[in-house]
Amino acid sequence: MKFESTVTQIPVDNIDTDQIIPARFLKTISKDGLGDQLFFDWRYNADGSPKPEFILNTEKAKASNVLLAGDNFGCGSSREHAPWALSQYGFQAVISTSFADIFKQNSLKNRLVPLVVSREVHQQLRDALAANPDLKVSVDVEAQTLTWSGGPVEQFPIDPFAKHCLLAGVDEIGYVTQHEAQIAAYEAERFATLNTLTN
């Protein structure tokens, strides 16, 4: 998994999942059509027309695969609609100094890379983007590197198992079902004494 892209910036700390996709769009029973609802309340006027100045409405952002956000991205609810909406819009990675736990897990399951950098590198990238808004960054998941021309080679952390799943396209449910014998053995021992909802 390797890609190169310009960077879309929403440099705000603590962007919560209610901003990423407001709750009223969660009444859907499918996963489709969420890209247009990404950051809906920041992105559209009351009459539904797009706010031309909001970054996600620009052609440049639409062509970009990398979002740069402030600290603690994705806090709040567990809605997986958040990474679904980000991916459907076209993002493959979000760069931040930290991510909320559930958002991070949800993202990895949807091939959206939660890319953690230090505050220092975050600032360096913002400075580089200020100097050259068309700057492209390269993300290499296998090497775990984030690079840009004139910047450092930043090594980002990623859970080794999640990385393996991303690179090898592992289906996690398929992986767990291979443990059937162990699950059954656990259940046999456990429910010899434990109550279940039916008794």
């Binding site: 919560d16 499918s30 609810s77 991510f99 909320a100 399951k109 449910i173 162990q182 109550n195």
Partner: protein, 469 residues
């Protein structure tokens, strides 16, 4: 050789490991999977596509709460999309054989309220739900956390989750709460102290004399908002209060099984000498009623305080965030919040919709009227709570004061069921999130306890409840 002292968090974790492999996350068994209408439809579709069954329908339980209206149950669900979502869960529960409290069921309610109420939630369990406030169930000494829809599908299919161990974080609250200060104020104070990312990667264990003194319902309020401080879960070790609450509930063990269960549960509390990765102390005596001023639950303060001034903050992003929050809230830095005019008071949500919360609100509203300018909504967390409240006449107190008394559901905690603020309105809310638009597009939320909310309803402005006691 005596084994290494362990925290309750480690004990519950260790008890649920099905398999461990070098380099991979642990395969963790899930004892209770709660399901609601919003985060499950895509997971059931996934199961169908794979041709899988629900592995343990007997450990799964479903209800509807988020997108369901809180209008009288004799009325249909008017929003066609919400109606379809509720119908989908009903169909899924039937197809996969999952026990289900539907829209018209007499025991329907908010998923985190009905779990404990029916004795589904028990000490030492692993509990998950596609909802971040699953942490509520930690009040019983369960390891309870929110998951996304892919993980919902995983648990439906396998009754297991792939998880890495979290860090442990002791939040010690000693002393005793003063009059007018509630459990909600403890957790709002924690959020204000460490910020909404402060507990990221951690599970909180709440300890100390002030926590021990809390009722089970109050412990649920505290654990509920663990996620608001970034922790995926928060728990309180079980004690006699836990067992007293659970005894006799519908799904709690009975007879010899009960005794056996209690004996096991008594092994759960953290061993003397066990170490946590992080520790923090809060002095309960020094706490005041809390209120939030900003657009995340960490932006809170004592009600006697003043809205902070962004110009005093050094970090540029942090400064901008506060500035942006105050602009959204249309609040002036440096001014107190007490006295701020409000339009709506919402008493409800999985944080504060249980009987004791309603009693607290009623204690303020009894014999008083809510301000004419304020819409006051009281929304019980479950139909069972509604019946109990009505049996003690609380509904009469609310109606006589001029408040609305509604059917059970998430209501105005989340603007997706018809209950919502209009742009620009201010609310004092007993819910858990004050994010932009959380209670309705353009709405502005002050989070507070049921006491503070009720006091503010009476005066029509943000009010320190101690002035009415």
């Amino acid at each position: 050789m005596p084994s290494k002292p362990r925290t309750i968090i480690e004990k519950v974790w260790d008890n649920h490991i099905v398999a461990e492999r070098e380099g991979a996350p642990s395969l963790l068994f899930i004892d209770l999977h709660l399901v609601h209408e919003v985060t499950s439809p895509q997971a059931f579709s996934g199961l169908r596509q794979r041709g899988l069954k629900v592995r343990r329908p007997d450990l799964t339980f479903a209800t509807v709460d988020h997108s369901t209206p809180t209008t009288p149950r004799s009325l249909p669900i008017v929003d066609p999309i919400a109606k379809a979502q509720v119908a989908q869960l009903e169909a899924n529960a039937q197809e996969f054989g999952i026990p289900y409290f539907g829209f018209q069921n007499k025991d329907q309610g908010i998923v985190h309220v009905i779990g404990p109420e029916n004795g589904l939630t028990q000490p030492g369990m692993t509990v998950v739900c596609g909802d971040s406030h699953t942490a509520t169930h930690g009040a019983f000494g369960a390891l309870a956390f929110g998951i996304g829809t892919s993980e919902v599908e995983m648990v439906l299919a396998t009754q297991c989750l792939l998880q890495r161990r979290s860090k442990s974080y002791e939040v010690r609250v000693d002393g005793s709460l003063k009059k007018g200060v509630a459990a909600k104020d403890i957790i709002l104070a924690l959020c204000a102290k460490i910020g909404i990312g402060g507990g990221t990667g951690c599970v909180f264990e709440y300890t100390g004399s002030a926590i021990r003194a809390l009722t089970m319902e109050e412990r649920m309020t505290v654990c509920n908002m663990s996620i608001e401080a970034g922790a995926r879960a928060g728990l309180v070790a079980p004690d006699d209060a836990t067992y007293e609450y659970l005894a006799g509930r519908r799904f709690a063990p009975k007879g010899a099984k009960w005794d056996e269960a209690v004996a096991k549960w008594r092994q759960l509390p953290t061993d003397d000498g066990a170490a946590y990765d992080h520790n923090l102390s809060i002095d309960a005596d020094s706490l005041e009623p809390m209120i939030t001023f900003g657009t995340n639950p960490g932006m809170g303060m004592a009600i006697s305080g003043a809205v902070p001034d962004p110009s005093t903050i050094a970090d540029p992003l942090e400064r901008d965030s506060l500035r942006k929050a105050l602009a959204y809230m249309a609040l002036e830095p440096g001014k107190p919040l007490a006295g701020q005019k409000i339009d709506v008071v919402f008493i409800g949500s999985c944080t504060n919709s249980r009987l004791s919360d309603l009693r607290a609100a009623a204690s303020i509203l009894k014999g008083r009227k809510v301000s004419e300018k304020v819409r006051t909504m009281v929304v019980p967390g479950s139909q069972e709570i509604k019946r109990q409240a009505e049996a003690e006449g609380l509904d009469e107190v609310f109606r006589a004061a001029g408040a609305e008394w509604r059917e059970a559901g998430c209501s105005m905690c989340i603007a997706m069921n018809g209950d919502q603020l209009t742009p620009g309105q201010y609310s004092v809310s007993t819910s858990n999130r004050n994010f932009e638009g959380r209670q309705g597009k353009g709405g502005r939320t002050f989070l507070a306890s049921p006491l503070t909310a009720a006091a503010s309803a009476v005066t029509g402005v943000v009010t320190d409840v101690r002035t009415l006691l």
